[in-house]
Symmetry: C2
Subunit: 331 residues, 2 copies
DNA sequence: CGTTATGAGTGTAACGATTCGCGATGTGGC
DNA sequence: GCCACATCGCGAATCGTTACACTCATAACG
């Protein structure tokens, strides 16, 4: 086996406690002793056992992250934000993906419990959060990275889906478009529902009948966006513009449309949602609604660490993340 | 505090041993008792403490993943591959990013030791692997996700960088291009060096002087590719074609060039490397060298678990991942 | 000189689970 | 009536570390 604290203690002719102190509260031990212990430890290749350490003082130096998926630029940016903060706080990231499934996400919540100091979670269905923490007796701090029902005493972040989609659609209307289609995301997604609502509200307000517009289903992937683009091409008449519920699908759709000789934005204007990094490098660059994705990761993580370090439990807060219309060349 | 195994034992009127047996070697306890214990455990919300369990039988159910960065479609796909396998094996992923720094990556290697059952690592400099595992007395299985020096007894995967870059460049030459620039990645990257070598070899073989071609530096990001594109526009004469050391930079460069009214592929042909998911959805779609990125993650993880479960230490193998030229519309 | 502080270090009991050896039952078969 | 077997309890050890309550010397002080 590997070398333990007692081996070092014996070799350095001190007690295990002293060795432990050297590595933790080094101010409590004489500098000579300290040096001797460190030398011996290095020579023997001693590495404190993280697991034992965790068991002993109840901290794992790890935060759990539950996301619908571990890949793609959206989640990727969230992870980057969390990673940044976690490294500063000397914590590790335990990433678990729920594959857009509610049950998997609850399973992860349960089984991560006990191996992390706190949890960052993004669910697909907001209503699924109802009583979740009580139900599974979660006793570590939890921050939801998407909107919890406001009545729940959970920390959460809320993306302004409705307002964003409204702004995007309104922008398309202002550009003179009347026939404006939509590409939807996964049907159970709360974000998608809210975005659709915003889209419909804008149309309605402009005297355009939302129910007369082309609606195409997608699943947030580029591939599904591409497929959506092909479906648009098959329509009797192309819409003037399309609002896509996320950027990835918008990019996929633009690709299909352009292959079908549709010029963007001349023949059809396209707007997306999220403002993922790639959105500004498409041709034409993509008009979209900026969501501070990286910030979401950062701030959620910061909140979590603040809770972890707090002596008193803090009052849960629901933070709203503002969205912003970014007009680029696709509209 | 949370409910322990002894609490459950007391409530179910059995011994702690029995409760432990129920959750581990359930065949040793009567089915009636088992059911009773499970019911009580559920009712009380008992979750075995993962940390204590790990300490006890020396397994953490966790694998460590060290990558240059946790985001972007390339690393993202690797993570997806690993995640898939890890979930099957009921293991968690502890992700640590080295920010393209050698020292950070070694620090991660050290500090992850003891909290994981195995490690998957991707370094930027292959020579940095020399003796790494011995030096830090790593005693868990390790798989390198990029090429280790062949002489080292490490498990590793090797991307055919040279052959890939060679094929891409040759393809550009076959298309009739003579002036073929290159966009480089981070200077210390082993992959970049090999890709550049392949590029130069192809040029040389076709009687084209590699030293007379435009060389632009990048750092693998879309932003740096965009900047590279602008630099190309500033040249006295545009090259006929450009080979970019990865797709992200190719995408950025295309964006800048197209904004400068350069038509692709008519005025300039562009080839990338990696075949990240987005590569097929650009306009024009990107000719590139496919690297089985997702498979890399999968196979590295599979290898790792095979080592973790193996009774005898296995003989290290170096696996070569073949690359493939994917011709699309950008050339 | 006796009393207190203070610094340096020790011993031991947790932390929560697993595991082992053994022993104590009870049951059924022959 | 005896034996094998299944089921379960009990105590103790183990995993490696940290926290708590001490001891022991030396210095400082009035």
């Amino acid at each position: 086996m590997s070398v333990t604290i007692r081996d070092v203690a014996k070799a350095a002719d001190v007690s295990a406690t002293t060795v432990s102190r050297v590595f933790n509260h080094s101010d409590l031990v004489h500098s000579d002793t300290q040096e001797r212990v460190r030398n011996v430890a290095n020579r023997m290749g001693y590495r404190p056992n993280a697991t034992a350490r965790s068991l002993s003082h109840g901290r794992t130096q790890t935060v759990g992250v539950i996301l619908p998926a571990p890949h793609g630029e959206f989640f990727s940016e969230i992870i980057r934000g969390i990673d940044e903060v976690a490294q500063e706080a000397e914590h590790y990231m335990l990433i678990s993906s729920s594959h857009y499934s509610l049950s998997e996400s609850e399973a992860a919540l349960q089984s991560l419990q006990g191996r992390v100091d706190g949890l960052l979670i993004m669910t697909i269905q907001a209503d699924a959060q109802r009583g979740l923490l009580d139900e599974y007796a979660i006793d570590v701090p939890v921050v939801f990275m998407n909107n919890a029902s406001e009545s729940l005493p959970y920390n959460s972040f809320k993306i302004e889906n409705r307002a964003g989609a409204y702004a995007a659609t309104q922008h398309l209307i202002e550009r003179g478009h009347r026939r404006i289609g939509i590409i939807l995301g996964p049907p159970h997604s709360h974000d998608v529902r809210e975005r659709r609502t915003g889209y419909r509200a804008a149309l309605h307000e402009a005297g355009i009948n939302p129910d007369a517009q082309p609606v195409i289903e997608g699943d947030f992937t580029q591939a599904s966006g591409y497929e959506a683009g092909r479906q648009l091409l098959d329509l009797d008449a192309l819409p003037d513009a399309v609002f896509s519920c996320n950027d990835y699908m918008a990019i996929g759709a633009m690709s299909a449309l352009q292959k079908g000789d549709v010029r963007i934005p001349t023949d059809l204007a396209m707007a997306g949602f999220d403002d993922i990094p790639s959105a500004q490098y498409t041709t034409p660059s993509l008009t979209t609604i900026r969501v501070p994705v990286y910030d979401l990761g950062r701030r959620a993580a910061e909140r979590l660490f603040s809770m972890i370090h707090a002596a008193e439990p803090e009052r849960p807060r629901q933070t709203v993340l503002p969205t912003e219309l970014i007009v680029r060349a696709s509209t």
